[in-house]
């Protein structure tokens, strides 16, 4: 008995030292929703492996322009070398929320609100660029440096700059990898039939498709981000030391826009600016999960109505309907098996602007960017132009006026802590 216990303990110790390195995992909700055949799931994993490597050994593919040294510093297990240089930075600082694959599903994700960002759509909320553009390196660096106020995302301002740069590179790496994964899923789902080969190593046409048609546009978007930065015209920018009267006039104009029908901020942020307007919508990350739940529910009804059809059908028709029922039931089972692993979708709640907590930063230019290009992935629309030379809804001057009003909101009397109403009887007993 004792010997057995010893053996078990030794085995456990050995097991600890030699645990398998964590793998990248496919996005299973997408795999099931897009009904990707097992052999094509394997093909996608192979292609991603060839292009991006593993969490312990990432590849900085030449076509991505990523920096191998930075990736090596950020990836892999946590350790420090003899001179004290740190390795495995992503797993040291990020993985417990953002997950090995950058899916926003680390072990702490379930207890956080908002949920940690899933990088795999390549969509980032807080950035200086036009709505459709990727963030710049500086945008991601700023998010790491400042953290995201009002959320669990802390500041990493105490890390040396080279470590922050390595993490920024790794976040881009996980995003680009995730964007590729999505395109490969779409391709497998739409273009391939069961048994079709999907192997770029042995098919130049597939190689061109993967490297040029898929990776090409993703990299164009990342590499072009710096040209997509919204720089307000100097003339539109209010000076720092404005006379009080001027600021007051600007706040008033901003207030009118906020509650007016052109900027229409009131519709979501509410007549009190507490974020109590439209609260029924979802951001793209939660919508994907919500749609998955809904479509799974719909399958039940679909199977029921197919069974009604089957009762009336004969011959070939009946055979075909029976097959459809089998297929639908199989998909339902696959969906159902995933449900318990999903975090329940949450509505996108518009920001309460009276708290003075601005997630993307509280500098005037931060708030300007939020209003001008909206918040990508969320219901918050752009009020400025969609790109260089496009027509915005509001002028830059008007956006600055809303910035002034938004900045004034936390200091309005209504935003300050409320005193308990004086109760006359309490006052009298007090004396």
């Amino acid at each position: 008995m004792r010997a057995l216990a010893l053996v078990t303990a030794t085995a456990a110790l050995v097991g600890c030292g030699k645990s398998d390195p964590p793998p990248f995992r496919l996005n299973m909700t997408n795999v099931v929703a897009k009904q990707i055949a097992p052999e094509h799931q394997q093909a996608i994993a192979n292609i991603l492996g060839a292009m991006f490597g593993t969490p312990d050994e990432p590849i900085a593919l030449k076509e991505t322009g990523l920096d191998q040294k930075k990736l090596d510093m950020a990836a892999g297990p946590v350790w420090s070398d003899k001179v004290g240089a740190k390795h495995g930075l992503y797993r040291r600082h990020c993985v417990h929320c953002h997950g090995i694959s950058g899916d926003g599903r680390g072990p702490t994700a379930a207890v956080l609100n908002p949920y940690p960002r899933d990088y795999r759509m390549g969509v980032f909320k807080f950035k200086s660029t036009y709505t459709a553009a990727e963030p710049t390196n500086l945008d991601l660096t700023k998010t790491l440096h400042e953290g995201i106020p009002g959320t669990a995302m802390p500041s990493f301002a105490l890390l040396p700059p080279d470590e922050v740069a390595a993490l920024v590179e790794y976040v881009k790496y996980l995003s680009i990898r995730g964007q590729m994964e999505r395109l490969l899923e779409d391709h497998a789902s739409v273009e391939l039939n069961a048994g079709d080969k999907f192997d770029p190593a042995n098919d130049p046409a597939v190689q061109k498709l993967v490297m040029q048609d898929m990776l090409g546009p993703i990299m164009e978007s990342w590499n072009g981000a710096k040209e997509q930065v919204i720089n307000p015209e100097d003339a539109s920018i209010p000076p720092d030391n404005r006379p009080a009267k001027e600021l007051e006039a600007s706040v008033k104009a901003g207030r009118e826009l906020f509650y007016g029908t052109r900027a229409n901020c009131v519709k979501c942020h509410g007549p009190t600016a507490l974020g109590d307007g439209q609260q029924d919508d979802y951001d793209v990350w939660n919508k994907a999960i919500n749609d998955f739940f809904k479509a799974t529910d719909d399958k039940i009804g679909q199977i029921a109505s197919l069974k009604t059809d089957l009762a009336k059908a004969q011959g070939d028709d009946a055979t075909q309907i029976r097959q459809q029922i089998v297929d639908a039931q199989k998909e339902f089972n696959e969906r159902h098996a995933l449900l318990s692993s999903l975090l329940l979708p949450r509505n996108a709640i518009p920001r309460n602007l009276r708290e003075g907590v601005f997630r993307g930063g509280r500098r005037p230019i931060d708030v300007f960017w939020r209003i001008s290009s909206g918040i990508p992935g969320t219901p918050m629309p752009a009020s400025g132009p969609a790109g260089e030379g496009a027509q915005g809804t509001l002028t830059q001057k008007e956006i600055w006026q809303i910035v002034d009003y938004v900045h004034s909101l936390p200091f309005e009397p209504a935003s300050l802590p409320q005193k308990r109403p004086i109760n006359a009887s309490e006052v009298s007993t007090g004396e």
Partner: protein
């Protein structure tokens, strides 16, 4: 790129290009009418709680619209060009490409409900309502405030194999669908369930049938066959002729 997949790419990389030579007589058309066989489930009524104007307009759930004689509206019917391939474009379409595609916010509904656009076209988003909307076109990563009686124009530069959703986030009950292709051989069925695609290069092509409530319209019987599991059928377009598919019956159970 050379080593990524350990591919032996010595010599000429053969890239499939579909530049079939053609002359004016080499074009044909396709048409038909899509009808529902049976009575589909009624779409759930919309929950409209914001903006008195919208509440008064009583917008309806357009996810399944069945017209006279069981005509099924808003079915996307289009020629499917496999990834990495190109198709000849009839010169007749050149002038149409320069025209903008209009999407109107009207009565707290999108008009049209099923939108077609070609890469390179301009999408002109109007708001004819007295209330403000925003229009969120996911496939274009576009989401802009559209105030009352104004419009916003956006260049259509990204597409996809299937239609995707258009939404208004101020009024989340508002939905429309857009299909963006880099060719003009697309159609949506009208009120009477009919569709027609003209001036298609003669030859065999795969056609896709898709509806927002039914997804891929699979196992639908067509003249001389049926659509497959992905709602597609290979059809032969003959030069100078119109392939008339007649009435195409979609079983009500296919529309969830």
């Amino acid at each position: 790129m050379n080593n990524t997949f350990k591919a032996i790419a010595v010599g000429a990389i053969c890239v499939a290009t579909f530049a079939a030579t053609s002359n004016a007589a080499d074009w044909g058309s396709i048409k038909g009418r899509i009808v529902v066989d049976g009575t589909p489930a009624k779409p759930a009524p919309l929950v409209v709680t914001k903006d008195q104007f919208c509440i008064d307009k009583m917008p309806v759930n357009n996810s399944i619209v069945v017209g006279k004689d069981n005509a099924l509206e808003n079915v996307f019917v289009y020629l499917r060009v496999p990834a990495g391939q190109k198709i000849d474009i009839n010169p007749e379409y050149a002038s149409k490409e320069a025209e903008p595609v209009t999407l109107d916010n009207n009565g707290c509904e999108f008009h049209p409900h099923a939108v077609l656009a070609r890469i390179g076209q301009t999408l002109d988003i109007k708001n004819s309502d007295p209330v403000g909307h925003n229009t969120n076109v996911n496939v274009l990563s576009f989401n802009q405030v559209i105030p009352s009686n104004s419009d916003a124009k956006v260049k259509v530069s990204t597409g996809g194999a299937l239609p995707t959703e258009i939404a208004c986030n101020i009024h989340p009950f508002m939905k429309a669908w857009i299909l963006v292709q880099d060719h003009p051989y697309t159609a949506t069925t009208g009120e009477d369930g009919t569709f027609e695609i003209k001036d298609i290069p003669a030859g065999k092509h795969e056609f896709q049938f898709w509806h927002e409530a039914g997804g891929y319209l699979k196992n639908v019987k067509l003249k001389g066959g049926a659509t497959d599991k992905k709602g597609r059928a290979e059809l032969n377009i003959e030069a100078g002729k119109t392939l008339d598919l007649g009435d195409i019956k979609v079983p009500a159970s296919a529309l969830k």
